[in-house]
Amino acid sequence: MSRSLLASGSLGLRLLRREWHGGELAVLLLALTLAVTAISAVGFFTDRVGAAMERRAAEVLAADVVLRSRAPLPDRFEARAKETGLKTAATVTLPTVVAGEERTQLIDLRAVDPAYPLRGEIQVADAPFRPGRPVESLIELGEAWVDARVLARLDLAVGDALTLGDHELRISQVLAGLPDEGIGFADVAPAVLVHSDELSATGLAREGSRVTHRLLVAGDRAAIRNWRQWAESELEEGQSLQDVSESRQEIGAAITRAESFLGLAALVSVLVAAVAVALSAREWARRRLDAVAVMKTLGAGQGKVLGLYLSQLLSIGLVGGGLGLAGGWLAQWGLVAILGGLLGETLPAAEPMGPVMTGLGTSLVLLLGFALPPLLKLRRTPPARVLRRESGPPEVGAWLVYGLALAAISILILSQARDLGLALQLLLVGGATLALLLAGGLLVITLVRRLGGRFGSAWRQGLGNLARYPGRSLALITAVGLGLMVLTLLSTVRGDLLDGWRATLPEDAANHFLINIQPDERKGVMEALDELGARNQTFSPLIRGRLVAINGEDVDDLTLPTERGRRFVQRDANLSWMDTLQADNRVVAGDWWDGSEHGEALVSLEEDIAEALGVGLGDRLSYRIGGREVELEISNLRSVRWDSFNTNFFVVTPPGTLEDAPLTWIASVYLPEEARGRLTALVRDYPSVTIIDVESILAQVRQIMDRASLAVEYVFAFTLLAGLIVLFAAVQASRDQRRFESALVRALGGRRRHVYATVVTEFGSAGALAGLLAGLGAALGGWLMAERVFELSYQPPLWLLPAVMGAGALLLAVAGWVASRRVVTRSALLVLREE
C-alpha cells in the first residue's frame, strides 16, 4: 500500500511537470508563495524586534542575567560564563550615608568593574538636571561619578572632593542615569559610582553592612540560556538569579501595538491568499476531471488518484513555502529598514526556526484547508465520465468544505494573532461577511431568475449568466467579496486608526513624573511647577501596600496561575484612589463607582493583573497598608492604555476609602524644554522628591507610531498583491466556459460589443454586490478593531459602502472585460472546434 502510494506520488510529480501549462497551478503557487512571504517577513521581523525588546528590557538589569548574593560570589560562575563566550562584570553595592557641610544624604554606593554596564548606558550631564548623554570614558581609580540629586542636595560640583568612609575621591562626572537604577515609582537612593578596586579603601564594606554582590552576564541568546540553566542548578543558599523583567511599559505597549498591526496585516494577506488558493484549487480540480476519469478507466483506484494529486499539492506547498520563506527573509529587511532603527542598536539576528515552521505550516494549512476539498471531490470522479461527459463527481459535503476552511482559518488566526479575543471576533466578522455574501448572492440569483425577462438583451444575458451558473457566481461573489472586505478593513485601519492612535499623544503629553511628594509638600510643588511653566499637571495619591490575602486566604498558601501574578504579590503594590475614570482607562467588566459609593471598601483592578492573579468581579483582596489590613472587593476591571503617558495604577479605590493610609503624591506634568534646567531649585527645596524624565521615551513612542504606519503600508502591499491574485483566479475560473459561450454567441451572429456588454454586466453586478456586502463587513470589522486593538472609538465613514461597492463593480467589470478580450478576439470557429 505505502509502496504503491509512493509510486503514485512519484508519478504525480512527473505529471506535475508535464501538466504545468494550465496556469491554475501557477496561480496556486503564487498565492502560497505570497502568503508565506508576508507571514514570514513579519515573523522574522517580530522575532528580531522581540529579541531587541528583550535586550532593551535587559538594560533595566544592565545585563541579560544577574546573579546576586549577600556573600561574595564563588569564581566558578564567572569562569563558566567566560568559557562560553559571555561577557561579565561584577558589582558590589551598599547603602551608605555621605555628609555635606550642612546636610547628609543616603546614597547607593556602587563599586563596579569598568565593563559595567553590559546592557544600556551610563548617562552623564554637564551639570545637574541638564540633558544627559552617554558617557564616553571608563571609570578610573580615584574617581566618583555622582548622581545629580546628591550634588544638588549637598551643594557639590564636579571637581569637588567626596568623602566615603575613610577615603576621599574626586567627583568627575554628574550621573544623569544608570540603566539599572530602578524603574517604576520605586523610591531608590541616588547612586555614587566608584571603581571596584576602591571599595576596600573606603572601609565601608564591613561585617554587618548591607552589601550586595552581583555578577552581571550578557551575550548570545543561546549561550545565555545555557548558562542560566547551568547556574540555576548551581545556586546555593542566599544566591538568586534575576532575569530580564518587563521592559518599560510605554514602549512595550507601543511596540506590541505596532507588532499586532503588522501581524494582522500579514494575516490578512494570508487570508486573501487563501481565497486565491481556494479558487485556483477548485479550477485545478475541475480541469483534471477528464484526466481522472481516463486514469480510472485505465485501472487507477481512488487511492492512487489521491496519492498522485496529493503529492502534487504537497510539493507545490513545499515549493511555495520555500519560495515564500526566501521572499520573507528578503522582505524583512524592508521592515528592518523602516522600523529597525527605533530600537537603537542593530537588531539581533532572527532565530529562524520559528518563522520557518510558521511559513511552511501556513503553506500546508492553506493547502489542506482550501485545496483538499476539491481534491477529495476529484478523487470521486466516476470513470463513466469517459462515456458521458456530463457525469461528474458527487459534491463533497458542505460541512467538509466549510469545516476544513474554517479549521484552516482558525489555525492561522489563532497561531498568528496575539490577542485571542480579537482573533475570535475577527473570525466572527469574517464568518458574518461570508454568510452575508452567500445569502446576498443567492438572493440576487433567485431574484434575477424571477425578474430575468425585464432587462435589455445584453443586460439580460449578463445577469442571466449570474443566475445560470450559481456555483460559479457564488464563488466569484464570495471570493471577491472576502478579498474586498479585508482590503477595505486594512485600508481604513491604516488611515483612520493609525491617525487616531497618534492623536492620543498630544504635543503636551506628560514628559516628567515627580514621585515621593509628601502630603504637606503638594501645594508647594504645584506652585513651583506652575512657576516653571509646566502644563497638564495631574496629581495622584500613591499608597504602598502589600497584597496579603485573596478572599481571606493567605497569598503564600495560594498557587497563583501565572509567574507574573507570583511576582506581583512579592512586591509592594502602588494603590491610588480616583473619582472619575481617566480617559485612557476603560471599564471592561463591572461598573465604575458613583458618588454614593465613595468611601466603600471597593477596588478597581487592571484586567491583565486580574488575569495574572486569577481573580474577577466580587473577589476580595486584602492589602496590608502601613501596618493595617484592608479588605477590598473588586467592583470593576479596567483596561489601561499604557502608552498614554499618564500616571496609571493597577489598583484603584474610590475616594475616601484609603484616606487615612500613609501616602505620598505622584505628579505627571509637561515641562517645556527651557524649564528643565531650572529644576535644581525644586530638587533642593523638596529633597525627597524624585523627578523622572520620560521625554526620550515619549519621543521613542511617537517615532514608533509614525514608523508603524509606514511598516503596515509595506505589508499592505503584499495584501494588495494577494488581492490581485484573487481577481485573476476568479476570472480565470470561468474562462473555458466563457470562451465557449462567447464563441457560440458570435457564431450565432452576436457582435463583439454584445459579448463585452454581457461580460461587463455579469462581472460588474457580481462586483457591486460583493463590494456592498464587503463594505458592511469591513465597517463592522473596523469598528471592532478600533475597540479592541486601539481602544479608540471609531465611526466607519459614510462613503465606505458606496465606495467599496463602486470599486468592486469597477474592478470586476474591468477584469472581466480584459479577460474576455482574449476570448473575443480569437476565431469563434477555432474555439468551437477545440471544445
Binding site: A291, V294, K296, G299, G301, P383, L387
Partner: protein, 234 residues
C-alpha cells in the same frame, strides 16, 4: 454458442440500468444478457441513443447496473467496489473511445506510458515506444495531442490501449469522429492488432463496416437486445 462458465471472457446476466429523470425512472439498458468467449470479437450495434455506451460502461465496470451481474474472467465486477473494478481493468482491460480521451498535457509517448506507469510497469518507456511503433507513430512520440490529427490521436489511443497487453479491449465508436478514409485505417489497425494479440474485442458502433468485421454482432434497440439483422433493417 453455449460457452461454459469458465471459458467465457465476459459474461453479463440480466443487466438493467435505470436512471431517474424529471419524467420518472428511465430504463436505458433493459434485461441484457450476453457472453463473449476469449479471443472472440463482438459488435454491439444500434442507433444513437439506444444505450450502447451505457451498456459498454456496465460491461467494463465503469458504472454499476441497477440489476444484473457482470463477470470478467474470474471476477464478478458487480460484486466489487470501484477500486476493485479498477484493479480488474488494470490487469485485463484496454479502451478506445470515440473522442480519443488523450490527456492534453502529455505527449503521445507519455499518454501511451500512462496506463503502464499507473500500474507500476517496470519499463513503461520502452513498451510505450514499441506500441507507438506498431501504430506507425514512432516519429510523433514527442508531439502533444493538439499537434496530431484526429486519426493520429486515435492511433495513439489504440497504442495506449494495447500497450499493457490487455486480454479484453472495449471500443466505443472508435471511428465515430473520423472521416471514412481515416476510419478505414483505424478499422484495419484495430483488427490487425486484435488478430496479432489474440485480444477479446467488444466494440459498440453504428458503423456497419466496422461491425461487419467482427465475428459476432448483436443489436441494441432502446436498451434491449435484438438480433443484429433486425437492428440493421430498423
Amino acid at each position: 454458442m453455449a460457452e461454459s462458465r469458465d471459458t467465457a471472457m465476459l459474461r453479463a446476466e440480466g443487466l438493467v440500468k435505470q436512471v431517474s429523470s424529471p419524467g420518472g425512472p428511465l430504463t436505458i439498458v433493459d434485461q441484457v444478457s450476453l457472453s463473449v468467449a476469449p479471443g472472440e470479437s463482438l459488435a454491439i450495434v444500434g442507433a444513437s441513443g439506444s444505450g450502447k455506451s451505457t451498456l459498454l460502461g456496465l460491461l467494463a465496470g465503469l458504472d454499476l447496473p441497477t440489476r444484473g451481474r457482470v463477470y470478467l474472467g474470474e471476477d464478478c465486477l458487480t460484486d466489487l467496489d470501484e477500486d476493485g473494478r479498477a484493479a480488474v481493468r488494470a490487469r485485463q482491460v484496454g479502451f478506445v473511445f470515440q473522442s480519443f480521451h488523450l490527456l492534453p498535457g502529455l505527449t503521445a509517448l507519455e499518454n501511451v506510458m500512462l496506463p503502464l506507469e499507473l500500474n507500476g510497469h517496470p519499463r513503461p518507456r520502452e513498451v510505450a515506444q514499441a506500441a507507438l511503433e506498431r501504430v506507425g507513430l514512432a516519429a510523433r512520440s514527442g508531439h502533444y495531442p493538439r499537434q496530431l490529427s484526429g486519426g493520429e490521436q486515435q492511433r495513439v489511443a489504440i497504442a495506449r490501449a494495447y500497450a499493457p497487453g490487455p486480454a479484453l479491449l472495449f471500443a466505443d465508436e472508435p471511428t465515430g469522429n473520423l472521416d471514412n478514409r481515416t476510419g478505414e485505417k483505424i478499422r484495419d489497425l484495430i483488427f490487425d492488432l486484435n488478430a496479432a494479440e489474440g485480444t477479446t474485442l467488444v466494440l459498440v458502433t453504428h458503423d456497419q463496416r466496422l461491425a461487419a468485421r467482427c465475428e459476432r454482432r448483436i443489436g441494441l434497440d432502446d436498451g434491449r437486445l435484438v438480433s443484429a439483422d433486425e437492428e440493421a433493417t430498423a
